[in-house]
């Protein structure tokens, strides 16, 4: 009998396609696959394109009363540390260095962001906030005895991401022939993509299965979550 739920908090690495595509792909995507492997009855996906860690943490705190420590599993996707949840209702622009941000905020807000980037971001704040985020997750995990795993979407050398190696961004980039940032950027910006990554969660279907397997082994067998090997590479 199935029991418990899988909770996924994070950014676009956890995003699922629209309803129609989801119905077609659900048996091949890492989130439903992991829920199935863990024998959970359902999953809750609280992820958003461009979201900051603060937004994910906020949703976690707001849902904490619904999480069953004995039965549920939590996956926390950690995003880039420079992202800031600047606007309560406009989550996607937390990735404030993205090009064309003026299309998504009014003139005053766009100016405020530009000034912030130019005059106020040259400090250790991003790193400190990220450490607060990771350590407080660990604290909650210990206190509540949660079955929780941190899944690094990105990785900073100075931070402790727990029992893991590498990050999803490397898997994402390494799928492109050449395995370099430049190759990835060229692939992403060329037509027909024109900047929009068509892959669900920035991964090809083959790698969803591998990721689900790795997460399962980390959750159930406490294995190191190694995102630096075993994934399919240069397939695009």
């Amino acid at each position: 009998m199935k029991k418990g739920k899988l909770w996924v908090f994070g950014d676009s690495y956890g995003q699922l396609p629209g309803k129609d595509d989801f119905e077609k792909l659900k048996d091949q995507l890492w989130i439903p696959m992991l829920a199935e492997k863990l024998n959970h009855s359902n999953f809750y996906n609280i992820c958003h394109n461009g979201a900051a860690n603060e937004w994910s943490y906020y949703n976690f705190v707001n849902n904490i009363h619904l999480i069953n420590a004995k039965e549920d599993t939590i996956v926390f996707i950690v995003t880039q540390i420079h992202r800031q949840w600047f606007f309560y209702d406009n989550i996607g622009v937390s990735n404030h260095y993205m090009s064309g941000i003026e299309e998504y905020v009014d003139k005053d807000k766009a100016t405020a962001i530009r000034y912030y980037q130019k005059y106020l971001s040259d400090n250790p704040q991003d790193l400190i906030r990220a450490q607060w985020f990771l350590y407080s997750l660990e604290m909650i995990k210990l206190k509540q005895a949660y079955n929780m795993i941190v899944l690094p979407g990105f990785r900073e050398n100075d931070l402790d991401y727990g029992n893991s190696i590498g990050c999803l961004f490397d898997v994402c980039v390494n799928e492109i022939k050449g395995k370099t940032m430049e190759a990835w950027r060229n692939w992403l910006t060329s037509k027909p993509r024109s900047g929009a990554d068509p892959r669900t969660g920035h991964l090809s279907i083959d790698n969803h299965k591998i990721l689900a397997e790795k997460l399962y082994n980390s959750v159930v067998h406490n294995q190191v979550l190694d995102l630096s090997k075993d994934f399919k590479e240069e397939i695009l």
């Binding site: 906020y58 912030y116 607060w132």
Partner: protein
């Protein structure tokens, strides 16, 4: 031999920015001696936010041993360390901020405060900061107590010990009336509070006693009772002689507070 470590904002700073003034009755300074510590490591600084306070903790985390005493004073959640070289300007709601930053920095801060900061986020950052300190307390097995300097919205601020109230309560209750509070800040004290750690001398002793009992007998640190209250007024100020800092806001805003060692 053990050390006492203090990390915080102005609630942890001594009277002066002058190395000759050591304020031996400062609560943390005398507490360390009473606990038998042979080193006083105080990294508090006026005007800083929780990010800077945590940064200082990180810098010294590996040096702190389980035999030491650690006190963390949390600051207001609205403060943010926005300019790297000037952490003492993290309270960017002060009136004369423009005198201590460039015009562009000033405009950037005003726009930041008006457009990019909101209450839920600052509150959330405060919760995360507490979680991080609690985690480090367990990770390094520190004998640590966290004291709220300001508001804490009911969140459990401390971890190993129980704390009620905040230092702001003690500070604020020292005034006879609201009018006396305004007179003290706006006229007598030249728009900045020049009490050592924002407390009168007698309340330093009371705070020291309370902390000593918390560390040695695991007593609840209750900051809501037993402190001297309604002491400062326009008509009763002489007793503050030798308790007031020489700090001058016009010249000194933005500089670091001097904190003694032993």
């Amino acid at each position: 031999m053990s050390k006492i470590w203090i990390f915080g904002d102005s609630y942890g700073t001594h009277l002066a920015n002058n190395s000759e003034k050591i304020t031996p009755w400062f609560w943390a300074y005398s507490l360390g001696k009473r606990l038998g510590c042979n080193e006083y490591k105080n990294f508090s600084q006026w005007g800083v936010g929780n990010d800077y306070i945590h940064h200082e903790i990180d810098l010294h985390a590996e040096e702190i041993s389980p035999q030491d005493y650690v006190i963390v004073i949390t600051s207001s959640s609205t403060r943010e360390w926005l300019i790297e070289g000037q952490p003492t300007l993290s309270n960017f709601y002060v009136d004369n901020l423009h005198e201590h930053v460039t015009r562009d920095q000033y405009n950037a801060i005003v726009m930041y405060a008006n457009n990019l900061q909101f209450y839920r986020k600052t509150q959330l950052n405060f919760i995360k900061m507490l979680g991080s300190i609690h985690y480090m307390t367990d990770k390094y097995n520190w004998n640590a107590i966290v004291i709220p300097g300001f508001e804490h919205d009911g969140f459990p601020v401390s971890h190993k010990y129980t704390v009620k109230g905040s230092l702001f309560d003690v500070c604020y209750n020292e005034f006879e009336s609201k009018q006396d509070t305004e007179w003290f800040y706006n006229e007598f004290s030249d728009t900045i509070d020049r009490r050592a750690g924002h407390l009168i001398k007698n309340n330093h002793k009371i705070l020291e006693d309370k902390l000593y009992n918390t560390f040695t007998n695991n007593k609840i640190l209750d900051l809501t009772t037993e402190f001297e209250e309604r002491k400062i007024s326009k008509n009763n100020i002489e007793f503050l002689e030798n308790q007031i800092s020489e700090y001058h806001i016009i010249e000194d805003r933005g500089v670091s507070a001097f904190v003694p060692k032993y």
